[in-house]
Amino acid sequence: MTISQKILLSHCKDREIYPGKYVECDVDLILANDITGPLAIEEFEKVGAKKVFNPEKIVLVPDHFTPCKDIKSAELVKKLREFSKRHKVRFYEIGKVGIEHALLPEEGLTLPGQLIIGADSHTCTYGAVGCFSTGVGSTDTAYAMITGKLWFKVPSTIKFYYYGKLNDYVGGKDLILYTIGLIGVDGANYKSMEFTGPVIENLPIDDRFTICNMAIEAGAKNGIIKPDRITEEYFKGIGKDIKIDENLKTDSEKDYEKIVEIDVSKIEPQVAAPHLPSNSKSVREYENVKIDQVVIGSCTNGRISDLRKAAKILKGKKVHPEVRCIIIPATQKVYKMALNEGLIDIFIEAGCVISPPTCGPCLGGHMGVLAKGEVALATTNRNFIGRMGHPESYVYLSNPEVAAASSIKGRICNPEEVV
Protein backbone atom coordinates (compact mmCIF):
# COMPACT_ATOMS: atom_id res chain seq x y z
CA MET A 1 0.00 0.00 0.00
CA THR A 2 1.02 3.61 -0.49
CA ILE A 3 1.22 6.13 2.39
CA SER A 4 -2.04 7.72 1.33
CA GLN A 5 -3.88 4.38 1.23
CA LYS A 6 -2.45 3.39 4.62
CA ILE A 7 -3.77 6.56 6.24
CA LEU A 8 -7.24 5.96 4.79
CA LEU A 9 -7.19 2.34 5.94
CA SER A 10 -6.21 3.32 9.48
CA HIS A 11 -9.24 5.63 9.63
CA CYS A 12 -11.95 3.27 8.39
CA LYS A 13 -13.65 0.07 9.55
CA ASP A 14 -12.82 -1.90 6.42
CA ARG A 15 -10.20 -4.63 6.79
CA GLU A 16 -8.79 -3.99 3.34
CA ILE A 17 -9.01 -1.25 0.79
CA TYR A 18 -8.02 -0.89 -2.85
CA PRO A 19 -8.13 1.92 -5.40
CA GLY A 20 -11.68 2.68 -6.46
CA LYS A 21 -13.31 1.32 -3.29
CA TYR A 22 -15.70 3.64 -1.45
CA VAL A 23 -15.09 3.89 2.28
CA GLU A 24 -16.32 5.94 5.20
CA CYS A 25 -13.49 7.28 7.35
CA ASP A 26 -13.14 9.03 10.69
CA VAL A 27 -11.58 12.46 10.24
CA ASP A 28 -9.03 14.03 12.59
CA LEU A 29 -9.60 17.66 11.67
CA ILE A 30 -12.25 19.63 9.78
CA LEU A 31 -11.51 23.06 8.35
CA ALA A 32 -13.78 25.69 6.83
CA ASN A 33 -13.29 29.34 5.89
CA ASP A 34 -15.43 32.46 5.51
CA ILE A 35 -16.65 31.42 2.03
CA THR A 36 -17.33 27.72 2.54
CA GLY A 37 -18.07 27.73 6.29
CA PRO A 38 -21.35 29.67 6.22
CA LEU A 39 -22.80 27.29 3.62
CA ALA A 40 -21.77 24.35 5.82
CA ILE A 41 -23.35 25.97 8.88
CA GLU A 42 -26.59 26.53 6.96
CA GLU A 43 -26.68 22.83 6.02
CA PHE A 44 -25.82 21.87 9.61
CA GLU A 45 -28.72 23.91 10.96
CA LYS A 46 -31.17 22.94 8.22
CA VAL A 47 -31.14 19.29 9.34
CA GLY A 48 -31.64 20.30 12.94
CA ALA A 49 -28.21 19.34 14.25
CA LYS A 50 -27.77 20.52 17.82
CA LYS A 51 -24.12 19.77 18.43
CA VAL A 52 -20.86 19.07 16.65
CA PHE A 53 -19.28 15.63 17.08
CA ASN A 54 -16.13 17.05 18.70
CA PRO A 55 -15.46 20.80 19.05
CA GLU A 56 -11.70 20.25 19.25
CA LYS A 57 -11.57 18.78 15.79
CA ILE A 58 -13.17 21.70 13.99
CA VAL A 59 -11.39 24.89 12.94
CA LEU A 60 -12.95 27.96 11.37
CA VAL A 61 -10.55 30.33 9.63
CA PRO A 62 -11.99 33.52 8.11
CA ASP A 63 -9.16 34.34 5.72
CA HIS A 64 -10.57 34.93 2.24
CA PHE A 65 -12.31 38.31 2.38
CA THR A 66 -10.90 39.46 5.74
CA PRO A 67 -10.47 42.04 7.17
CA CYS A 68 -13.99 42.12 5.79
CA LYS A 69 -14.16 43.82 2.42
CA ASP A 70 -17.87 44.61 2.47
CA ILE A 71 -21.07 44.18 4.45
CA LYS A 72 -21.92 40.81 2.92
CA SER A 73 -18.58 39.29 3.81
CA ALA A 74 -18.86 40.74 7.31
CA GLU A 75 -22.17 38.91 7.66
CA LEU A 76 -20.52 35.64 6.60
CA VAL A 77 -17.72 36.01 9.15
CA LYS A 78 -20.30 36.92 11.80
CA LYS A 79 -22.02 33.62 11.07
CA LEU A 80 -18.76 31.74 11.67
CA ARG A 81 -18.03 33.72 14.82
CA GLU A 82 -21.46 33.03 16.32
CA PHE A 83 -21.33 29.34 15.41
CA SER A 84 -17.92 29.03 17.03
CA LYS A 85 -19.21 30.60 20.25
CA ARG A 86 -22.29 28.39 20.30
CA HIS A 87 -20.39 25.16 19.71
CA LYS A 88 -17.06 26.04 21.39
CA VAL A 89 -15.26 25.53 18.12
CA ARG A 90 -11.86 27.08 17.39
CA PHE A 91 -12.19 30.38 15.49
CA TYR A 92 -9.35 32.72 14.51
CA GLU A 93 -10.26 36.37 14.99
CA ILE A 94 -8.60 39.26 13.18
CA GLY A 95 -5.27 39.79 14.89
CA LYS A 96 -4.75 36.06 15.15
CA VAL A 97 -6.01 34.84 11.80
CA GLY A 98 -3.73 33.95 8.93
CA ILE A 99 -4.10 32.15 5.62
CA GLU A 100 -5.53 28.78 6.67
CA HIS A 101 -2.99 26.50 5.02
CA ALA A 102 -0.07 28.38 6.51
CA LEU A 103 -1.80 28.87 9.86
CA LEU A 104 -2.90 25.32 10.69
CA PRO A 105 0.54 23.70 10.39
CA GLU A 106 2.07 26.63 12.30
CA GLU A 107 -0.45 26.00 15.10
CA GLY A 108 0.59 22.35 15.25
CA LEU A 109 -2.86 21.18 14.16
CA THR A 110 -1.70 19.03 11.25
CA LEU A 111 0.27 15.95 12.24
CA PRO A 112 1.79 13.08 10.23
CA GLY A 113 -0.62 10.21 9.62
CA GLN A 114 -3.74 12.30 10.23
CA LEU A 115 -6.76 12.40 7.94
CA ILE A 116 -7.77 16.04 7.44
CA ILE A 117 -10.57 17.50 5.38
CA GLY A 118 -11.10 21.15 4.56
CA ALA A 119 -13.73 23.04 2.66
CA ASP A 120 -11.01 24.59 0.57
CA SER A 121 -9.33 22.95 -2.37
CA HIS A 122 -5.81 23.76 -1.14
CA THR A 123 -6.32 21.66 1.98
CA CYS A 124 -3.97 19.21 0.23
CA THR A 125 -1.11 21.42 1.54
CA TYR A 126 -0.65 19.37 4.74
CA GLY A 127 0.62 16.39 2.79
CA ALA A 128 3.93 18.22 3.19
CA VAL A 129 4.05 16.98 6.80
CA GLY A 130 2.66 13.52 6.00
CA CYS A 131 -1.10 14.06 6.42
CA PHE A 132 -3.72 12.69 4.08
CA SER A 133 -5.46 16.01 3.61
CA THR A 134 -7.97 16.84 0.94
CA GLY A 135 -10.36 19.55 -0.16
CA VAL A 136 -14.09 18.84 0.10
CA GLY A 137 -17.32 20.82 -0.14
CA SER A 138 -19.55 22.58 2.37
CA THR A 139 -22.11 19.77 2.58
CA ASP A 140 -19.26 17.33 3.24
CA THR A 141 -18.11 19.64 6.01
CA ALA A 142 -21.56 19.86 7.56
CA TYR A 143 -21.91 16.07 7.50
CA ALA A 144 -18.48 15.61 9.06
CA MET A 145 -19.14 18.24 11.75
CA ILE A 146 -22.16 16.17 12.81
CA THR A 147 -20.82 12.65 12.43
CA GLY A 148 -17.01 12.96 12.50
CA LYS A 149 -16.98 10.89 9.32
CA LEU A 150 -16.90 11.30 5.55
CA TRP A 151 -16.99 9.14 2.42
CA PHE A 152 -13.95 8.71 0.20
CA LYS A 153 -13.11 6.88 -2.97
CA VAL A 154 -9.72 5.27 -2.36
CA PRO A 155 -7.28 6.84 -4.82
CA SER A 156 -4.46 5.19 -6.71
CA THR A 157 -1.06 6.86 -6.35
CA ILE A 158 1.32 8.35 -8.88
CA LYS A 159 4.92 8.55 -7.71
CA PHE A 160 6.96 11.58 -8.76
CA TYR A 161 10.69 11.01 -8.41
CA TYR A 162 12.87 14.13 -8.53
CA TYR A 163 16.62 13.76 -9.02
CA GLY A 164 19.57 15.90 -10.11
CA LYS A 165 20.94 19.26 -8.98
CA LEU A 166 18.61 22.22 -8.54
CA ASN A 167 19.49 25.31 -10.57
CA ASP A 168 19.68 28.80 -9.04
CA TYR A 169 16.32 30.33 -8.18
CA VAL A 170 14.54 27.01 -8.61
CA GLY A 171 12.50 25.77 -5.65
CA GLY A 172 9.28 24.02 -4.71
CA LYS A 173 7.13 26.34 -6.84
CA ASP A 174 9.14 25.64 -9.97
CA LEU A 175 9.10 21.88 -9.39
CA ILE A 176 5.32 21.79 -9.02
CA LEU A 177 4.63 24.20 -11.92
CA TYR A 178 6.91 22.09 -14.12
CA THR A 179 5.17 18.90 -12.97
CA ILE A 180 1.69 20.28 -13.67
CA GLY A 181 2.94 21.42 -17.08
CA LEU A 182 4.07 17.86 -17.70
CA ILE A 183 0.88 16.02 -16.70
CA GLY A 184 -1.78 18.71 -17.23
CA VAL A 185 -4.48 20.19 -14.99
CA ASP A 186 -6.27 16.83 -14.83
CA GLY A 187 -3.14 14.68 -14.95
CA ALA A 188 -3.76 13.37 -11.42
CA ASN A 189 -7.57 13.71 -11.23
CA TYR A 190 -8.92 11.54 -8.36
CA LYS A 191 -5.38 10.30 -7.59
CA SER A 192 -2.72 10.80 -4.94
CA MET A 193 0.52 12.49 -5.93
CA GLU A 194 3.45 11.25 -3.87
CA PHE A 195 6.56 13.41 -4.15
CA THR A 196 9.81 11.52 -3.66
CA GLY A 197 13.47 11.29 -4.56
CA PRO A 198 16.75 12.83 -3.39
CA VAL A 199 15.65 16.36 -4.27
CA ILE A 200 12.52 16.13 -2.12
CA GLU A 201 14.44 14.45 0.72
CA ASN A 202 16.64 17.53 0.97
CA LEU A 203 13.96 20.12 0.28
CA PRO A 204 13.09 22.60 3.06
CA ILE A 205 9.64 22.26 4.60
CA ASP A 206 8.28 25.51 3.11
CA ASP A 207 9.08 24.29 -0.40
CA ARG A 208 7.33 21.04 0.44
CA PHE A 209 4.24 22.98 1.51
CA THR A 210 4.29 24.80 -1.83
CA ILE A 211 4.51 21.54 -3.78
CA CYS A 212 1.71 19.74 -1.93
CA ASN A 213 -0.42 22.92 -1.97
CA MET A 214 -0.62 22.81 -5.77
CA ALA A 215 -1.36 19.08 -6.14
CA ILE A 216 -5.00 20.11 -6.65
CA GLU A 217 -3.95 22.10 -9.74
CA ALA A 218 -3.27 18.73 -11.36
CA GLY A 219 -6.65 17.53 -10.10
CA ALA A 220 -5.17 15.37 -7.34
CA LYS A 221 -7.13 14.23 -4.31
CA ASN A 222 -4.04 14.76 -2.20
CA GLY A 223 -0.32 15.38 -2.42
CA ILE A 224 1.98 13.74 0.09
CA ILE A 225 5.61 13.52 1.13
CA LYS A 226 6.90 10.79 3.43
CA PRO A 227 7.59 12.41 6.79
CA ASP A 228 11.30 12.37 7.67
CA ARG A 229 14.06 14.13 9.57
CA ILE A 230 13.13 17.52 8.04
CA THR A 231 9.52 17.01 9.14
CA GLU A 232 10.64 16.19 12.68
CA GLU A 233 12.85 19.27 12.81
CA TYR A 234 9.96 21.40 11.61
CA PHE A 235 7.75 20.17 14.43
CA LYS A 236 10.55 20.68 16.94
CA GLY A 237 10.76 24.27 15.71
CA ILE A 238 7.10 24.86 16.54
CA GLY A 239 7.48 23.26 19.94
CA LYS A 240 6.00 19.87 19.15
CA ASP A 241 8.01 16.76 19.82
CA ILE A 242 6.64 14.07 17.57
CA LYS A 243 7.75 10.59 16.73
CA ILE A 244 7.06 9.57 13.17
CA ASP A 245 5.49 6.16 12.68
CA GLU A 246 7.97 4.10 10.66
CA ASN A 247 5.11 2.39 8.88
CA LEU A 248 4.17 5.73 7.30
CA LYS A 249 5.78 4.91 3.98
CA THR A 250 4.86 3.24 0.71
CA ASP A 251 5.68 -0.46 0.88
CA SER A 252 6.65 -1.25 -2.68
CA GLU A 253 7.16 0.31 -6.09
CA LYS A 254 4.38 -2.01 -7.27
CA ASP A 255 1.89 -0.07 -5.17
CA TYR A 256 2.11 2.90 -7.53
CA GLU A 257 -0.13 3.20 -10.54
CA LYS A 258 2.61 5.05 -12.37
CA ILE A 259 6.07 6.49 -11.76
CA VAL A 260 7.19 9.80 -13.27
CA GLU A 261 10.90 10.60 -13.09
CA ILE A 262 12.01 14.21 -13.34
CA ASP A 263 15.57 15.42 -13.79
CA VAL A 264 15.51 18.78 -11.99
CA SER A 265 18.81 19.94 -13.48
CA LYS A 266 16.80 20.64 -16.64
CA ILE A 267 14.31 22.88 -14.86
CA GLU A 268 14.76 26.66 -14.99
CA PRO A 269 12.63 29.08 -12.96
CA GLN A 270 9.08 28.50 -14.21
CA VAL A 271 6.30 30.88 -15.20
CA ALA A 272 2.73 29.69 -15.91
CA ALA A 273 0.93 31.87 -18.45
CA PRO A 274 -2.81 32.63 -18.45
CA HIS A 275 -5.22 30.88 -18.12
CA LEU A 276 -4.06 27.52 -16.74
CA PRO A 277 -1.39 26.58 -14.19
CA SER A 278 -0.25 23.93 -16.66
CA ASN A 279 0.94 26.61 -19.11
CA SER A 280 4.33 26.54 -17.44
CA LYS A 281 7.59 27.18 -19.23
CA SER A 282 11.03 28.60 -18.47
CA VAL A 283 10.88 32.24 -17.36
CA ARG A 284 12.94 33.04 -20.47
CA GLU A 285 9.92 32.36 -22.67
CA TYR A 286 8.00 35.22 -21.08
CA GLU A 287 10.70 37.86 -20.66
CA ASN A 288 8.94 40.47 -22.75
CA VAL A 289 5.66 40.39 -20.82
CA LYS A 290 5.06 43.79 -19.19
CA ILE A 291 3.36 43.70 -15.81
CA ASP A 292 1.18 46.11 -13.81
CA GLN A 293 1.13 44.27 -10.49
CA VAL A 294 3.11 41.77 -8.49
CA VAL A 295 1.61 39.79 -5.61
CA ILE A 296 3.92 37.91 -3.24
CA GLY A 297 1.92 35.87 -0.75
CA SER A 298 -0.91 33.27 -0.59
CA CYS A 299 -1.20 29.75 0.85
CA THR A 300 1.27 28.72 -1.84
CA ASN A 301 4.10 31.20 -1.23
CA GLY A 302 3.40 33.47 1.74
CA ARG A 303 5.65 31.77 4.30
CA ILE A 304 8.75 33.25 5.89
CA SER A 305 11.24 31.63 3.54
CA ASP A 306 9.25 33.00 0.59
CA LEU A 307 9.49 36.52 2.00
CA ARG A 308 13.20 36.04 2.72
CA LYS A 309 13.79 35.05 -0.90
CA ALA A 310 11.84 38.07 -2.18
CA ALA A 311 13.62 40.45 0.22
CA LYS A 312 17.02 39.19 -0.88
CA ILE A 313 16.19 40.26 -4.44
CA LEU A 314 14.55 43.58 -3.46
CA LYS A 315 17.20 44.72 -0.97
CA GLY A 316 18.52 48.14 -1.98
CA LYS A 317 16.42 48.11 -5.18
CA LYS A 318 13.25 49.98 -6.22
CA VAL A 319 10.02 48.59 -7.57
CA HIS A 320 9.44 49.81 -11.15
CA PRO A 321 7.42 53.06 -11.11
CA GLU A 322 4.63 51.48 -13.17
CA VAL A 323 4.28 48.38 -10.99
CA ARG A 324 2.33 47.87 -7.76
CA CYS A 325 4.08 45.31 -5.59
CA ILE A 326 1.88 43.79 -2.87
CA ILE A 327 3.47 41.66 -0.16
CA ILE A 328 1.16 39.48 1.95
CA PRO A 329 2.70 37.64 4.91
CA ALA A 330 0.57 34.51 5.28
CA THR A 331 0.19 34.68 9.07
CA GLN A 332 0.77 37.05 11.97
CA LYS A 333 3.78 34.97 12.99
CA VAL A 334 5.26 35.24 9.50
CA TYR A 335 4.57 38.99 9.58
CA LYS A 336 6.33 39.39 12.92
CA MET A 337 9.32 37.36 11.83
CA ALA A 338 9.58 39.43 8.66
CA LEU A 339 9.46 42.56 10.79
CA ASN A 340 12.12 41.35 13.23
CA GLU A 341 14.40 40.21 10.44
CA GLY A 342 14.20 43.59 8.72
CA LEU A 343 12.38 42.22 5.66
CA ILE A 344 9.43 44.59 6.01
CA ASP A 345 11.90 47.47 6.03
CA ILE A 346 13.45 46.22 2.81
CA PHE A 347 10.03 45.91 1.17
CA ILE A 348 8.92 49.40 2.21
CA GLU A 349 12.21 50.97 1.11
CA ALA A 350 11.78 49.26 -2.26
CA GLY A 351 8.27 50.73 -2.63
CA CYS A 352 6.14 47.66 -1.88
CA VAL A 353 2.93 47.75 0.14
CA ILE A 354 2.37 45.25 2.97
CA SER A 355 -1.08 43.72 3.35
CA PRO A 356 -2.45 42.03 6.46
CA PRO A 357 -2.64 38.24 6.15
CA THR A 358 -5.47 37.41 3.71
CA CYS A 359 -6.18 35.37 0.57
CA GLY A 360 -7.33 38.72 -0.87
CA PRO A 361 -6.17 39.22 -4.45
CA CYS A 362 -5.37 35.55 -5.13
CA LEU A 363 -9.07 34.95 -5.82
CA GLY A 364 -9.86 38.51 -6.89
CA GLY A 365 -11.44 39.24 -3.53
CA HIS A 366 -9.79 42.47 -2.41
CA MET A 367 -6.36 44.03 -1.64
CA GLY A 368 -5.25 44.21 -5.26
CA VAL A 369 -7.98 43.46 -7.78
CA LEU A 370 -7.05 43.95 -11.47
CA ALA A 371 -8.72 46.30 -13.97
CA LYS A 372 -9.51 45.44 -17.60
CA GLY A 373 -6.39 44.63 -19.58
CA GLU A 374 -4.05 44.58 -16.59
CA VAL A 375 -1.36 41.95 -16.10
CA ALA A 376 -0.14 40.52 -12.81
CA LEU A 377 2.70 38.21 -11.88
CA ALA A 378 1.78 36.42 -8.68
CA THR A 379 3.21 33.73 -6.41
CA THR A 380 -0.34 32.39 -6.04
CA ASN A 381 -1.73 29.13 -7.42
CA ARG A 382 -4.35 29.86 -10.09
CA ASN A 383 -4.40 31.97 -13.22
CA PHE A 384 -7.91 31.19 -14.49
CA ILE A 385 -9.85 33.77 -16.52
CA GLY A 386 -10.73 36.69 -14.27
CA ARG A 387 -9.17 35.03 -11.23
CA MET A 388 -7.65 38.27 -9.88
CA GLY A 389 -10.31 40.67 -11.11
CA HIS A 390 -11.66 41.76 -14.49
CA PRO A 391 -12.54 38.95 -16.91
CA GLU A 392 -10.06 40.56 -19.33
CA SER A 393 -7.12 40.69 -16.93
CA TYR A 394 -4.18 38.30 -16.96
CA VAL A 395 -2.34 36.40 -14.22
CA TYR A 396 1.07 34.77 -14.58
CA LEU A 397 2.35 32.49 -11.81
CA SER A 398 5.91 32.20 -10.52
CA ASN A 399 8.12 31.74 -7.46
CA PRO A 400 8.87 34.67 -5.08
CA GLU A 401 12.31 35.46 -6.54
CA VAL A 402 11.02 35.75 -10.09
CA ALA A 403 8.11 37.87 -8.83
CA ALA A 404 10.40 40.19 -6.85
CA ALA A 405 12.88 40.59 -9.71
CA SER A 406 10.08 41.26 -12.20
CA SER A 407 8.62 43.97 -9.95
CA ILE A 408 11.93 45.81 -10.29
CA LYS A 409 12.16 45.42 -14.07
CA GLY A 410 8.50 46.10 -14.83
CA ARG A 411 8.40 42.97 -16.96
CA ILE A 412 8.78 39.26 -16.31
CA CYS A 413 12.45 38.44 -15.85
CA ASN A 414 14.90 35.89 -14.51
CA PRO A 415 16.26 36.99 -11.10
CA GLU A 416 19.74 36.77 -12.66
CA GLU A 417 18.97 40.06 -14.42
CA VAL A 418 18.74 42.08 -11.23
CA VAL A 419 21.33 40.55 -8.91
Binding site: I35, G118, T123, S138, I146, R382, G386, R387
Partner: protein, 162 residues
Amino acid sequence: MKVKGKVWKFGDHINTDDIIAARYLNTTDEKELASHCFETIRPEFSKKVKKGDIIVAGENFGCGSSREHAPVSIKGCGISVVIAKSFARIFFRNSINIGLPLIEIKEGDEINEGDELEIDFENGIIKNINTGKTYKFQKYPEFLQNIINAGGLMSLARKIIE
Protein backbone atom coordinates in the same frame (compact mmCIF):
# COMPACT_ATOMS: atom_id res chain seq x y z
CA MET B 1 -36.74 9.27 -13.98
CA LYS B 2 -36.58 10.98 -17.36
CA VAL B 3 -35.57 14.55 -18.18
CA LYS B 4 -35.68 16.51 -21.41
CA GLY B 5 -33.90 19.75 -22.18
CA LYS B 6 -31.86 21.93 -24.56
CA VAL B 7 -28.09 21.76 -24.62
CA TRP B 8 -25.58 24.41 -23.60
CA LYS B 9 -22.11 23.41 -24.82
CA PHE B 10 -18.87 24.09 -22.93
CA GLY B 11 -15.24 23.11 -23.56
CA ASP B 12 -12.52 21.41 -21.51
CA HIS B 13 -11.33 22.43 -18.03
CA ILE B 14 -14.27 24.67 -17.18
CA ASN B 15 -13.22 25.79 -13.70
CA THR B 16 -15.17 26.91 -10.67
CA ASP B 17 -14.10 30.54 -11.24
CA ASP B 18 -15.75 30.28 -14.68
CA ILE B 19 -18.90 28.87 -13.11
CA ILE B 20 -19.16 31.42 -10.32
CA ALA B 21 -16.54 34.17 -9.90
CA ALA B 22 -15.14 34.71 -6.41
CA ARG B 23 -16.47 38.25 -6.28
CA TYR B 24 -19.96 36.75 -5.88
CA LEU B 25 -18.99 34.37 -3.08
CA ASN B 26 -19.98 36.86 -0.40
CA THR B 27 -23.42 35.26 -0.42
CA THR B 28 -24.85 31.76 -0.01
CA ASP B 29 -28.17 32.62 -1.66
CA GLU B 30 -28.93 30.13 -4.45
CA LYS B 31 -30.94 32.58 -6.60
CA GLU B 32 -28.30 35.28 -6.39
CA LEU B 33 -25.52 32.81 -7.18
CA ALA B 34 -27.57 31.51 -10.12
CA SER B 35 -27.90 35.03 -11.54
CA HIS B 36 -24.08 35.17 -11.95
CA CYS B 37 -23.57 31.62 -13.20
CA PHE B 38 -20.95 31.48 -16.00
CA GLU B 39 -20.99 35.30 -16.11
CA THR B 40 -17.24 35.62 -16.84
CA ILE B 41 -17.19 33.32 -19.86
CA ARG B 42 -20.86 33.44 -21.06
CA PRO B 43 -22.58 36.56 -19.76
CA GLU B 44 -25.90 35.68 -21.45
CA PHE B 45 -26.17 32.22 -19.85
CA SER B 46 -28.05 33.02 -16.66
CA LYS B 47 -30.54 35.22 -18.52
CA LYS B 48 -31.38 32.74 -21.27
CA VAL B 49 -31.13 29.37 -19.51
CA LYS B 50 -34.46 27.56 -19.07
CA LYS B 51 -35.55 25.09 -16.42
CA GLY B 52 -34.58 21.59 -17.47
CA ASP B 53 -31.74 22.67 -19.80
CA ILE B 54 -28.65 20.49 -19.97
CA ILE B 55 -24.93 21.33 -19.91
CA VAL B 56 -22.64 19.27 -22.15
CA ALA B 57 -18.93 19.84 -21.54
CA GLY B 58 -15.49 18.39 -22.21
CA GLU B 59 -12.82 17.05 -19.86
CA ASN B 60 -12.30 17.98 -16.18
CA PHE B 61 -15.51 19.98 -15.71
CA GLY B 62 -15.54 21.91 -12.43
CA CYS B 63 -11.80 21.94 -11.75
CA GLY B 64 -10.31 24.45 -9.32
CA SER B 65 -11.75 25.49 -6.01
CA SER B 66 -13.92 23.55 -3.57
CA ARG B 67 -16.68 26.17 -3.65
CA GLU B 68 -19.97 24.34 -3.48
CA HIS B 69 -21.43 27.60 -4.73
CA ALA B 70 -20.50 26.33 -8.22
CA PRO B 71 -22.90 23.35 -8.40
CA VAL B 72 -25.39 25.32 -6.29
CA SER B 73 -25.46 28.12 -8.88
CA ILE B 74 -25.85 25.63 -11.75
CA LYS B 75 -28.67 23.86 -9.93
CA GLY B 76 -30.20 27.25 -9.12
CA CYS B 77 -30.36 28.02 -12.86
CA GLY B 78 -32.63 25.03 -13.31
CA ILE B 79 -30.06 22.87 -15.11
CA SER B 80 -31.35 19.30 -14.92
CA VAL B 81 -28.08 17.45 -15.53
CA VAL B 82 -24.45 18.12 -16.42
CA ILE B 83 -22.89 15.80 -19.00
CA ALA B 84 -19.10 15.86 -19.42
CA LYS B 85 -16.23 13.72 -20.65
CA SER B 86 -14.87 13.85 -17.09
CA PHE B 87 -15.43 15.76 -13.86
CA ALA B 88 -12.99 17.29 -11.40
CA ARG B 89 -13.04 15.49 -8.08
CA ILE B 90 -14.41 18.05 -5.62
CA PHE B 91 -17.07 19.29 -8.05
CA PHE B 92 -18.17 15.69 -8.49
CA ARG B 93 -18.65 15.01 -4.79
CA ASN B 94 -20.28 18.39 -4.20
CA SER B 95 -22.81 17.66 -6.93
CA ILE B 96 -23.60 14.19 -5.57
CA ASN B 97 -23.97 15.64 -2.09
CA ILE B 98 -26.44 18.37 -3.16
CA GLY B 99 -28.31 16.26 -5.70
CA LEU B 100 -27.18 17.75 -9.02
CA PRO B 101 -27.12 14.81 -11.47
CA LEU B 102 -23.90 14.27 -13.42
CA ILE B 103 -23.30 11.95 -16.38
CA GLU B 104 -19.93 10.95 -17.77
CA ILE B 105 -19.75 10.09 -21.47
CA LYS B 106 -16.90 10.51 -23.94
CA GLU B 107 -19.06 11.33 -27.01
CA GLY B 108 -19.94 14.89 -26.03
CA ASP B 109 -18.40 16.28 -29.24
CA GLU B 110 -21.25 14.69 -31.25
CA ILE B 111 -23.79 16.78 -29.38
CA ASN B 112 -24.40 20.34 -30.57
CA GLU B 113 -25.37 23.55 -28.87
CA GLY B 114 -29.18 23.80 -28.81
CA ASP B 115 -29.81 20.07 -29.43
CA GLU B 116 -32.62 18.57 -27.43
CA LEU B 117 -31.71 15.58 -25.28
CA GLU B 118 -33.88 13.09 -23.51
CA ILE B 119 -32.23 11.31 -20.60
CA ASP B 120 -33.48 8.05 -19.15
CA PHE B 121 -31.70 7.66 -15.82
CA GLU B 122 -33.27 4.30 -15.05
CA ASN B 123 -31.80 2.63 -18.13
CA GLY B 124 -28.73 4.86 -18.53
CA ILE B 125 -29.62 6.16 -21.99
CA ILE B 126 -29.22 9.60 -23.56
CA LYS B 127 -31.20 10.25 -26.73
CA ASN B 128 -30.35 13.19 -28.97
CA ILE B 129 -33.72 14.14 -30.49
CA ASN B 130 -32.11 16.30 -33.19
CA THR B 131 -29.62 13.73 -34.50
CA GLY B 132 -31.46 10.58 -33.46
CA LYS B 133 -28.29 9.18 -31.88
CA THR B 134 -28.36 7.44 -28.52
CA TYR B 135 -25.62 7.04 -25.94
CA LYS B 136 -25.33 4.64 -23.02
CA PHE B 137 -23.95 5.82 -19.72
CA GLN B 138 -22.71 4.05 -16.60
CA LYS B 139 -24.95 4.33 -13.63
CA TYR B 140 -23.48 5.47 -10.30
CA PRO B 141 -21.74 2.91 -8.11
CA GLU B 142 -24.06 1.54 -5.41
CA PHE B 143 -22.36 3.53 -2.65
CA LEU B 144 -23.11 6.84 -4.37
CA GLN B 145 -26.55 5.74 -5.53
CA ASN B 146 -27.45 5.21 -1.88
CA ILE B 147 -26.53 8.81 -1.09
CA ILE B 148 -28.60 10.02 -4.05
CA ASN B 149 -31.56 7.77 -3.18
CA ALA B 150 -31.51 9.06 0.37
CA GLY B 151 -31.93 12.59 -1.01
CA GLY B 152 -28.32 13.73 -0.61
CA LEU B 153 -25.70 13.53 2.10
CA MET B 154 -27.56 15.75 4.58
CA SER B 155 -30.61 13.49 4.47
CA LEU B 156 -28.33 10.74 5.74
CA ALA B 157 -27.07 13.11 8.44
CA ARG B 158 -30.67 13.85 9.44
CA LYS B 159 -31.33 10.12 9.86
CA ILE B 160 -28.26 9.80 12.08
CA ILE B 161 -29.43 12.71 14.26
CA GLU B 162 -32.87 11.17 14.63
